[in-house]
């Protein structure tokens, strides 16, 4: 297979109505009033994530990725346009959407199993039942034997896996992750990527990943949406036609390198625009 033929790109104007997706964003915009005037964080974004698809959103710092995350997660309830999950409009945190945050978010006063069973406890599931279910997800993220440890006794990568298992335990239709591995070193990140691929294979979990890491996006995704620097628009949507099941070994392949290069070309423009505009105020992490 030639490398060039694998890269299919869509134009930015993908209409949401094209295919009935599980998660549909239709002409979503979000403005924030600030003392210096209105900032448009997300500008007329339309996209559709299909059942079972792994969709990534990549963009430079300040492109409105996190705003997108917060809107879909329901933590920002006021927006223009329409965001629907399985046809229902998002107006607040929705039971079908499970969020994994960038920051350390395990509860330090709860053991691993108490953390993972937390959403089930909130649902009112009896202890024996929710622990049994939690064990299943702890096994899935590879933390068997650590059930009764406290987060302070675990490494950063293990704690992020606890957060992931906790969100998976709530069995969301859509797993929404905001740079979940950003704070980890590259090796850990690649290996955790393997874990995510494995889980994805097992659960056929519809996933939306927000990231600024190109390798991570290409390693995991079926499709990647590149966003522009402020205001955050859709610059391009790239299909990643790499075979599944995948592992992190794919990182060494030619096709992988091609995708990374292609996305970097798009991203570079945006990141450097961000860098010049933000000069002296912020160093963009995407240009590393």
């Amino acid at each position: 297979m030639s490398v060039a033929s694998m890269a299919t790109t869509h134009t930015a104007k993908t209409s949401a109505q094209d295919s009935a997706g599980l998660l549909v964003l239709d002409d979503l915009s979000k403005r924030f009033p600030t003392p210096e005037g209105t900032v448009v964080a997300v500008d007329h974004v339309s996209l559709s994530v299909k059942q079972g698809e792994f969709f990534s959103v990549i963009g430079p710092s300040g492109c409105g990725k996190s705003t997108l995350f917060n809107v879909i997660g329901g933590l920002i309830s006021e927006y223009e346009g329409n965001v629907t999950v399985a046809g229902e409009r998002i107006t607040g945190p929705h039971p079908s959407v499970g969020m994994v945050f960038q920051e350390e978010s395990t509860f330090p006063w709860r053991t691993v199993i108490e953390n993972v069973s937390f959403p089930l406890e909130i649902e009112g599931m009896p202890k024996a039942k929710r622990y049994e279910k939690a064990r299943h997800f702890i096994h899935m993220v590879g933390l068997d034997g650590f059930e009764n440890r406290y987060p302070s006794e675990l490494s950063g990568g293990m704690r992020q896996r606890v957060s992931l298992a906790r969100t998976l335990a709530s069995e969301p239709k859509i797993l929404l992750m905001d740079e979940p591995f950003a704070a980890l070193d590259e090796q850990t990140r690649l290996l955790l990527g393997d874990k995510v691929l494995q889980i994805q294979e097992e659960l056929k979990q519809t996933t939306m990943l927000i990231t600024h890491n190109i390798t991570e996006a290409v390693q995991l995704s079926d499709r990647i949406m590149v966003m522009t620097y402020r205001p955050g628009k859709v610059k391009r949507v790239v299909d990643i036609n790499l075979p599944r099941p995948r592992t992190s070994e794919i990182v060494g392949s030619d096709a992988f390198g091609h995708y990374v290069a292609q996305i970097w070309t798009d991203l570079r423009e945006e990141a450097s625009r961000g860098l010049t505009e933000d000069e002296g105020r912020r160093v963009t992490r995407a240009t590393r």
């Binding site: 509860f107 006063w109 937390f118």
Partner: protein, 264 residues
Amino acid sequence: MAETGRLRQAAITSPLLSPVTLVRLAIIAGVLVLWETIAASGWLYRDVVPSLLAIGRAIIALLSSPEYYWHLGVTAGEIGAALTIGGLSGLLVGLVLGGSRFMGKAFEPYLYYLGPTPKIIFFPIMIMWFGVGPASKVALGTMSCFFPIALSVAAGMRQIDPVLIRVGRSFRLKQWQMAWKIYLPAMRHPIINGVRLGLGVALIGTLLAETKLSNRGIGFLIIQAYSLFDMPRMYAMLIVLFILSIGANALIGRLGGLDSIKRL
């Protein structure tokens, strides 16, 4: 706070007869020897420094007297009441001040300035309001422990990691679940720390008030022994009180301490 936690952990995990323990024991032994030497020397007035034997006898006499336990009960009740009233109101005020930036900014400066003021200066007013009985002592103890508890709860509330609140929102917790399952456990250290500080000052406030004007309680007994110049009895009560307050502090510290070792 993290430092004291670590120190406590070191103290707990150190072996029984480590060099540190030996030095600590040596200090106690040294003080006792010095005391006995001074007592036997006759350099000071008789009974100002009574012999250890006399103090020991007085402790036994004290601990076998039902009257003492009655007074101890009075004082413990006063401190308990003060800690309950002051603690609950401190928790409530702390939650309001910590939860609202506006309220915090408006009211906290007053708490900071009133906090370190010796509350004993308000004692005459408390006597006028509540009489010479236990109520005025409870009032003084309450005033003492309210401030540190309110301030540490307010500070603790502001230190809650915002991402934990977002996690709670994403799992659609109800208000009471938010309070019970996220806010309170996330604030466990500042709350326990506030209660420890509160206990200390409630103890001081209550006892001080009892020594000033009262007809019952440990403070009253101590000052009574002093005015009767029954020094062995006075020392005996001081020692017992000292041990009791260390015990109470250790008890609360243990609640927080175990927590800090096991749960970060």
